[in-house]
Subunit: 186 residues, 2 copies
DNA sequence: GTCTATACAGCGATAGAC
DNA sequence: GTCTATCGCTGTATAGAC
């Protein structure tokens, strides 16, 4: 069921980077064409629905990352600490230590995001839920949901602040702080 | 030195809302014209430099909010707890309980942000520094800088997550949590 | 499947009447 | 100071050759 052609898969990865750096509105087909190395004809062949379909495709594409780097590790209830450490390490790598924006967060800020809103909310909601489940191990309190959503928010905010200040270290510090905070709870 | 005409001040406020909702790239002159109620001629009369000058103007405009709602309260070293409470309350109001995005954060994500990067970094840096100073009162540890930047990041991330999930309560919860966390330190 | 050529709507910006 | 009209360009999207 991987279905998609290699050409499309490569294009999706390139398109995602353009969205990350320029946002949805700022990602022109000219920029996308330059980044993918494809002409408009090829782009519309791969994505008949145009830019909106590209956004759907990049959102579908991050599912694989979430599953491998977030959901699967956190599902290991036998060793929640290891799962949390893996999630944090993968997150640090994925966002290039704060030099790469979050695609889902970027698309959440798009004014014409209605067609994507469901997927966007779905990812963040699932992230929060998976984190809460991992934390619920020994900590029976209700507060785990709130801690989990605070952690997800902290990661998003750290990316914004790192970029705004041009200080990738901000991202590193926030991630380290949260790793300790989460590990202290399991 | 308030200098600017009332017409320009009103336009700046309206332009800021368009940037908040559509981002810099997505804020077309048509949208800006509709929101301000001004034609292109008037807009270019008020902002000869076009959209870039509008962005500079809206960034200059938030200075007043920062001074009144963040810097001034936090400068009151006699009662840091009151200052923190005021800052949090003003922040809650300003972001309409999570329904209004952060203009500075939005502009930080713009690809063509180089002309604004200094002001953007300046606001976040000053916010972090002011918060750290307020926390340094009784807590002599070095960690206050890290706590302060984590708080600013948390606010930014809470706005993103609230919008992505369409759950303004996320913003309220994160703000409440941080208010308690900061007050416990002074 | 990828390209070039093109349609045409919308973009930011300017000119000039009032 | 605000408007309408218009410029030149770029935007997304399509058509059709190869």
């Amino acid at each position: 069921m991987t279905g998609a052609s290699p050409a499309r898969a490569a294009a999706v990865a390139a398109v995602a980077e353009v969205f990350r750096e320029h946002g949805y509105a700022g990602a022109s087909l000219a920029l996308i064409g330059a980044r993918t190395g494809l002409g408009k004809g090829s782009l519309y062949h791969l994505f008949p629905g145009g830019k909106a379909e590209m956004a759907q495709a990049v959102l579908d594409d991050v599912e694989a990352w979430f599953e491998a780097s977030v959901f699967a590790p956190l599902r290991d209830t036998a060793d929640p600490a290891a799962g949390l450490r893996t999630m944090m390490a993968e997150t640090r790598t994925y966002f290039r230590s704060g030099n790469r924006m979050c695609l889902v967060g970027i698309l959440a800020l798009t004014a014409e995001r209605d067609p994507f809103a469901g997927k966007i909310a779905g990812y963040f909601s699932a992230w929060r839920a998976a984190l809460a489940t991992a934390l619920r191990g020994r900590d029976g309190s209700e507060a785990v949901e709130i801690v989990a959503e605070e952690c997800v928010a902290a990661i998003q905010g750290a990316l914004i602040l790192s970029r705004a200040l041009d200080e990738p270290d901000v991202f590193e510090r926030v991630l380290s702080t949260w790793e300790q905070r989460l590990l202290a709870r399991v």
